[in-house]
Symmetry: C2
DNA sequence: CTTCTCCTCAAGTAACTTCTTGAATAGATG
DNA sequence: CATCTATTCAAGAAGTTACTTGAGGAGAAG
């Protein structure tokens, strides 16, 4: 057996990256950053932590090479270093959901019962986008919509949904989407819309998966 | 923002899996287990740790759903829960090597200078296997060979290589492989063989990648 | 230059991790 | 049944991590 010390150091190096994802708040940060770049204060709000603590977590992610920064005026914007990082997160998510016994229960506790939420696949939505026979709403925070969204979608952050529904004909079908399979905004939106006796479905997964699947997107078009 | 506590718990769940890979010794265990099942004592030897400590690390991996066990007589064999886990490890490895600045140096410290080690691609090796114009040697520990190896390869653990070379014609080309891109056995083998003025190359990556690429394998055929 | 804003750093505490040692246990073997 | 063996558990020392609070610093704006 070769040089044990050097071997340990190398594998500790790989573990360094895993360790960076080894904290729920940092995983949340990666999930949010997969939607597009954000500045620290916003990120702190998203993960429900102090700015100082959020900054610290971002430093840990940066030290592992998972995020980079860009300054624009007074603000510092964080972004994922590359699509690889997003890919690592989706693989981690999928392994956890397949192999970690407790995860299903945790998901139910957070998301509630999804059995009555109908989904629409990316391919079907892509087809129906052409017809114009449905309305697509992006229920993520506005900053994420601004950073990139499904082409033709309208930004309707979840707290504005009720208002928005008032101006909508009752016979039109709505598709809601948000960050990914474990994002609760779209579920809440679909439940609310269905309670108002309209037809609503949730897009399978979320925006990053739509983008990765090379379906049409656009950015910075506020409604 | 929905239920912060439930959301935290869910993302802590994902982080649980990352945390399980957040230790160099556990990553080594996964790398070894990607070769095939092994029992605790062997695993302890591979990662250079006490049996008790190795057992503890295996419990951590098991709690995250990454490994399962099987009893055979007096021994307990650990294995990766599924190919997904191996996939997660390869993605982690690739992200680390691309994005973690220090990793290159750590790899050089462990593996040495690879610039003079010629590689052979999986596809080329698969083609040349048919001709019989080269010899393929598996320089991993014998237990890993027994658990599965490239079809037609011969088990030559690295400490037996010198002996084995004596009985070999000098004009035959040798291809050596081991566990993966960061495994040092095949490098050492190629260097040693070249010092003896024979032609030798290292297979790109290692056995798990060969198997994943659906090239021919076999098991339990000791030479 | 001064002030303001956004972000990072430092210090401190409580809770976890890793690894060691020695004892305990479950199951196989005789 | 008793014994043996491979593995796990338990307790403790040394180090690390997460989060809080308050101070510090870099750049923008006035």
């Amino acid at each position: 057996m070769g040089n044990r010390q050097a071997k340990n150091a190398l594998f500790d190096g790989f573990a360094e990256v895993a360790k960076a994802l080894g904290n729920g708040r940092r995983v949340e940060l990666v999930d949010v950053l997969a939607q597009g770049e954000r500045h620290v204060e916003e990120l702190a709000g998203e993960i429900g932590q102090s700015v100082a603590n959020t900054s610290h977590h971002l430093q840990v992610l940066a030290a592992a090479g998972l995020v980079t920064t860009r300054r624009d005026g007074n603000r510092i914007y964080y972004q994922l270093t590359s699509g690889d990082v997003e890919h690592l997160w989706t693989v981690l998510r999928s392994v956890a959901s397949t192999h970690l016994d407790d995860l299903e229960q945790l998901a139910v506790d957070y998301l509630g019962n999804r059995s009555r939420l109908e989904e629409i696949s990316r391919d079907e939505l892509a087809r129906r986008l052409e017809d114009g026979t449905l309305i697509v709403i992006d229920v993520r925070p506005e900053a994420e919509y601004a950073a990139g969204h499904i082409r033709g979608a309208r930004s309707v952050p979840i707290d504005q949904l009720s208002n928005m529904l008032r101006g909508l004909p009752t016979d039109v079908e709505v598709v809601a989407y948000c960050r990914g399979p474990y994002c609760v905004f779209a579920d809440d939106a679909v439940r609310l819309i269905r309670r108002r006796s309209r037809k609503a479905r949730r897009l399978q997964d979320g925006y990053p998966e739509w983008r990765t699947a090379q379906h049409p997107t656009e950015a910075n078009l506020l409604p």
